[in-house]
C-alpha cells in the first residue's frame, strides 16, 4: 500500500510549523509518530497535500516540572513516558496507561501529542488527561492558548483544535502525594484499542474518599469525564451501595458503538466493570 503524494516539510521551530499549517489550511497535517496518519494515508482515508514532520522541533520534546504541574512536550514518545523517573514518582498512572498502548515498536514512535490531538475515541490518553484535569497548550497564528482536556473533544476526530493550530504540550496538575490511581483496560488482545477502559484517580482520608476523578475510554465518540460518578463517590467509604450507584451513573453516560469489540450493551457493562476494578485498585494504592 502506497500513500498519495504529498510535500514533506521538516520545520525546526514551532513558529515555522504553525506558519506552514497556516499557509496550507486543512490541506496540511502535522506528522508526529505517524502511527495513525500513515496507515490512514496508505488506506487512502487521508490524503494530506502537505505533511509537517515535527520531529525536528526540539521545543516539543521533554518532561519537566513547572510549579505544581508536569509539562510534557507534545513530541514525547510513549517509550519516553514509560522510562521517565519524574513521571514514575509524580504521575505513575501515565506509565501504567502507556504500557497498555499498542506494542513496543509503536511506543518508540507514538507521541502523547498525537495521541491526545488526533481525536480518535480509541486512544487511551484523552480519557486519562480528562481524569487528571490536564490542559493542552496550543499555538496558532494568533499566539498561544490553553484548552482543558475536558473541553477539547467534540466528536470522533473533531476537537477544539483549529486546522492551523498545533498542540505543543500537555500540562498536568500534580495529584497529591499518596493518591490512588488505576487505569483498567479491557482489550481483545495485546495492542488492541479498548473494548472499554476506565481511569481513576482518588485521594482518601480517614477511610473515606476526599477527592475522586473518573473518565472512560472508547465507549462514546469522545472520551467521557464521569462527573456524576465522581460526585457520588466523593465523601463515601466506597461501600458497595455507593459504588453501585457510581457505576450506574458512569454506565448511563456511555454511547458505545456496536462493532467487532462487541455489542453496545456489552461495552457499556464492561465500562462499569473496568470502573469497579479501577476503583478497587486505586483505593488499595491510596494512603489514608
Amino acid at each position: 500500500m502506497i500513500p498519495g503524494e504529498f510535500t514533506y516539510h521538516r520545520p525546526s521551530t514551532v513558529a515555522e510549523a504553525v506558519a506552514i499549517l497556516a499557509s496550507h489550511g486543512d490541506e496540511a497535517r502535522p506528522l508526529a509518530g505517524g502511527h495513525s496518519i500513515i496507515p490512514m494515508m496508505k488506506l487512502r482515508m487521508a490524503a494530506p497535500e502537505h505533511l509537517i514532520d515535527l520531529s525536528g522541533v526540539a521545543d516539543l520534546k521533554g518532561i519537566r516540572e513547572e510549579g505544581g504541574a508536569i509539562v510534557i512536550g507534545a513530541m514525547t514518545t510513549q517509550h519516553e513516558l514509560i522510562a521517565s523517573d519524574l513521571l514514575a514518582s509524580k504521575l505513575p498512572i501515565i506509565r501504567e496507561t502507556s504500557l497498555l498502548i499498542a506494542d513496543p515498536q509503536i511506543r518508540y514512535l507514538g507521541t502523547i501529542g498525537g495521541n491526545v490531538a488526533n481525536g480518535d475515541p480509541g486512544n487511551d490518553m484523552p480519557a486519562l488527561m480528562q481524569c487528571l484535569n490536564a490542559s493542552y497548550k496550543v499555538v496558532g497564528p494568533n499566539g498561544e492558548r490553553e484548552i482543558a482536556a475536558r473541553d477539547f473533544y467534540e466528536a470522533a476526530y473533531f476537537t477544539a483544535l483549529a486546522p492551523e493550530e498545533l498542540v505543543t504540550a500537555v500540562v498536568i496538575p500534580v495529584p497529591p502525594a499518596g493518591h490512588g490511581f488505576a487505569y483498567e483496560k479491557l482489550k481483545r488482545k495485546v495492542g488492541d484499542y479498548a473494548t472499554a477502559a476506565a481511569a481513576v484517580v482518588l485521594t482518601m482520608s480517614g477511610g473515606s474518599v476526599s477527592s475522586c476523578s473518573v473518565a472512560l475510554t472508547n465507549v462514546g465518540d469522545t472520551p467521557l469525564y464521569a462527573a456524576e460518578a465522581c460526585d457520588i463517590l466523593t465523601g463515601s467509604t466506597l461501600d458497595a451501595d455507593t459504588v453501585n450507584r457510581a457505576v450506574a451513573a458512569a454506565e448511563a453516560i456511555t454511547r458505545p458503538a456496536s462493532d467487532g469489540r462487541g455489542p453496545a450493551e456489552y461495552r457499556t457493562k464492561m465500562a462499569g466493570v473496568m470502573l469497579r476494578r479501577a476503583l478497587a485498585r486505586a483505593a488499595e494504592r491510596a494512603n489514608g
Binding site: P3, F6, Y8, L31, D53, P104, Q105, G191
Partner: protein, 169 residues
Amino acid sequence: MSDIEQVPVTLTVNGKKVQRFVEPRTLLIHFLREELNLTGPHIGCETSHCGVCTVELNGMSVKSCTMFAAQANGAEITTIEGMANEDGTLSALQEGFRQMHGLQCGFCTPGMIMRAHVLLKENPDPTEQEIRMGISGNLCRCTGYQNIVKAIQYAAAKLQGRDFQEAAE
C-alpha cells in the same frame, strides 16, 4: 513523473552510508527493499500490526512500513542482514533461533530477531513474561511462540556467558 519535489535521504544502514533522493511518500520498508536490495525486512500486514518489517533505528525497534524514508534521514539502521558476527558466524540470537527451532516458515523471523535484539540491549536478562510482552508487536502464525521465547532466552543466556539448559519444544 510527479511534480512533487524529491527529498534527500542519508542513512547509515548496517554500517554503510547510503545517500539517495526519494519521493516523500516512499516508505522506509520500500526504500530498504527496493533501493538497497535488503529483502530481509519483510512486508506483511502493512498496517503496523504484524512486525515483520521491524528494523533497528537509532537503538529503537520500529516498523519500517509505518515510517517514511524521509523521516529516517540521518538515522543509523540495522536490518537482519547486519546481524551476523563480523566473521560471518551467527550472532547469539540467530544461533538461538536455530538451536531452539524458533522458526517454521521463517517469514516473521527477521522481525522477531530485530525486535529481540533491541529488547536484549535494554534488558539483557528478561523474564519469560518480559520477553512475551517485548515481542507482543510481532506475530508468528506457525510456532505458537514457545520456541521463539526459548530462542531469545538462549541468546540472553549466551550473551551473559551462561549455558541455556532447556530443550526446544
